[in-house]
């Protein structure tokens, strides 16, 4: 996969990891994120999307294999230097804390001893929250809270964003809003983005998709190449039908019988 890439930002090769020390949860995984890419990391709940992102960001240490950032082993970076290049946003952040929006966004400056040129106000303007500067984080909607943390990563200045389920618990309007914002940042500011998600319909709108089955990668490519009915059945354990419209847009229809149990994700399917 790395051969197809001119400038690999993140390169994970032969990565294995186990939470229990017994059977590996992630086994011999290879994933490369190239400069400027916008990738959807798609998989069922519990398939290992978060684990892959945590391995890629250095939160988890692989039992085997290598993780490189800009060609240098991730572990060789000092914490602050790493934070200037890669930013990971967890799925759950404790937002009950009475921090104001400006205080949270300002945390993006923490890796820096000398302030970079972008200001909190500019970062908030980029995500459309300039009027929420002094609001408490807990007073914002789910979509606005996500945008606050994205503004923080902008201030952090990292060229690669790893976002763990940023669309979870958001209604469709906020999902569209967040994806649109991230795509805009990807195009205008050349920020590479990897988003873990489990909604196949959203993944169908991405340019590149990495499909995960429990612990390993089932395929990498465009949604047309990767999101076939068979692979989705394999990854999610349900029967779906992909409906393509004349304009090229596609969506899925769930075809399983609700009264009949589906297969476990990862179960090989015949035909």
């Amino acid at each position: 996969m790395s051969s197809a890439c001119k400038h690999a930002i993140l390169d994970m090769q032969g990565v294995s990891f186990s939470y229990t020390g017994a059977a590996p949860f992630v086994k011999d995984l290879g994933l490369t994120v190239c400069e400027g890419e916008f990738i959807g990391l798609l998989g069922a709940n519990g398939s290992g999307k978060s684990t892959i992102l945590k391995l890629g960001s250095g939160i988890l240490k692989p039992a085997a294999g290598s993780v490189s950032l800009w060609g240098k082993p991730l572990r060789a970076y000092a914490n602050k230097d790493r934070a200037k290049l890669i930013s990971y946003l967890p799925q759950t952040i404790d937002i009950s804390v009475p921090f104001t929006v400006a205080e949270v966004v300002g945390m993006g400056l923490y890796p820096y001893d000398v302030r970079p040129s972008m200001t909190v106000a500019e970062a908030l303007t980029l995500v459309g929250l300039e009027d929420k500067r002094n609001s408490y984080l807990s007073d914002l909607s789910g979509g606005e809270q996500r945008r606050v943390f994205i503004a923080m990563t902008l201030l952090q200045g990292a060229g690669l964003l790893l976002l763990d389920e940023p669309l979870a618990n958001l209604d469709i309007r906020y999902q569209v809003e967040i994806v649109r914002l991230l795509k805009q940042l990807n195009k205008e500011r050349s920020i590479s983005v990897v988003i873990a998600l489990h909604d196949i319909n959203i993944a169908l709108q991405f340019e590149k998709v990495v499909l995960i089955q429990p612990g390993s990668i089932l395929g990498v490519g465009t949604p047309e190449e990767i999101l076939t009915e068979e692979r989705i059945r394999h990854a999610f354990g349900v029967d779906v039908k992909i409906i393509r419209q004349p304009g090229g847009k596609a969506y899925i229809s769930y075809e399983s019988n609700f009264s009949r149990p589906d297969k476990e994700p990862g179960t090989p399917v015949a035909g």
Binding site: K54, S57, G58, I59, N79, K80, D81, R82, A83, K84, I86, S87, Y88, L89, P90, T92, I93, D94, S96, V97, P98, F99, T100, E103, V104, M107, G108, Y110, P111, S138, Q156
Partner: protein, 320 residues
């Protein structure tokens, strides 16, 4: 913000000044006779300085602990450190220990606090990092054990030792003298320096370990460092004057209403206001029914709790 911080600093010095010159007898700083000078320098000044140091330690350690445990109900006593210190101090008092003279009991308390902190830290340690939930549960468990042992010892002990031990447990500043100031100063300054220098890491930890990692911190190391600072501050406060409730739990919350949750401001401001409150409470405790003295912990709660409840009602917030 700057105005609010300035206001807290003014209150801090005002409270200290008031505790020096006000009391059962009023001292005129511009007209000191021999007796007044003696009262001021030998009795009031060391007691006020000890109250300031103790209040600062409690206020700051409460703010830090609520952050690293991500628990608004955490206070310096929840980790069992103070119970361990009290048990050791009470043992020292009841045994009539005087190996190190006037600082024997504070030394017993300090040793008890450090030993308990180490045990709690070890019990909270798993897979190379400190886990907030494990730390909290280990602290609560040890706290109950030590409190039970303390009660057991006190219930089978002689009366005189018992009274002194009880006074110690409820916070006793009447024994304060200059001998306590040097070690208190060193411990409180050292314990305060860590969270002030690492305030950014503490902010990030409040939002979560993964978040802190992403911002360039090592969550495990930062939490350990901050836990050590809390251990020293709690040990310092208990060995200076026993256990005084309310300050460690509620002063950080009151200060959050005032200056917000950014620990770069919250920790120093909690320290200053904790010191000011205890100084003021001690002044009231010795002035209200002279010559009798009330335990300072009762006064801090009677002054502070209604104000806190008033703020809670107005702001409708209780979180970190």
């Amino acid at each position: 913000m700057k105005l609010k911080i300035f206001f807290v600093i003014v209150i801090f010095f005002f409270s200290f000044g008031l505790s020096l010159f006000w009391g059962p007898s009023v001292i005129n700083p511009f007209n000191l006779d021999e007796t007044s000078r003696e009262i001021l320098l030998s009795i009031r000044a060391p007691r006020s300085v000890v109250a300031l140091l103790m209040g600062m330690a409690l206020g700051a350690s409460g703010a830090v602990l609520q952050g690293i445990l991500r628990n608004p109900l955490a206070d310096p006593y929840v980790l069992g450190i103070s119970s361990g210190a009290s048990l050791a101090a009470a043992l020292g008092i009841l045994a009539g220990a005087s190996v190190f003279g006037a600082v024997t009991v504070p030394l017993f308390a300090f040793a008890g606090a450090i030993a308990t902190g180490a045990v709690v830290g070890m019990m909270g340690w798993n897979r190379g990092v400190i886990w907030p939930e494990r730390l909290l549960l280990a602290g609560v468990g040890l706290s109950f054990l030590f409190s039970a042992l303390l009660m057991l010892i006190m219930s089978i002990s002689a009366d005189e030792g018992l009274r002194r031990a009880i006074l110690w447990i409820f916070g006793d500043l009447s024994m304060s003298d200059w001998t306590r100031v040097p070690y208190g100063l060193v411990l409180v300054a050292g314990g305060l320096a860590i969270p002030i220098v690492r305030a950014r890491a503490l902010n990030a930890l409040v939002l979560g370990d993964e978040f802190a990692h992403s911002l360039g911190f090592s969550p495990g190391k930062e939490r350990l460092l901050l836990f050590v600072s809390v251990g020293f501050l709690t040990a310092a406060s208990v060995s200076l004057g026993g256990m005084i409730g309310f300050i460690g739990l509620l002063v950080p919350h009151i200060m959050r209403f005032m200056v917000g949750s950014d620990n770069r401001y919250l920790v120093p401001v909690s320290a200053l206001s904790g010191g000011a409150l205890l100084c003021f409470a001690d002044l009231i405790s010795k002035s209200i029914l002279p010559p009798m003295e009330l335990p300072a912990g009762i006064v801090t709660a009677i002054i502070g709790a209604p104000y806190f409840l008033f703020l809670l009602r107005r702001k409708n917030v209780l979180s970190l």
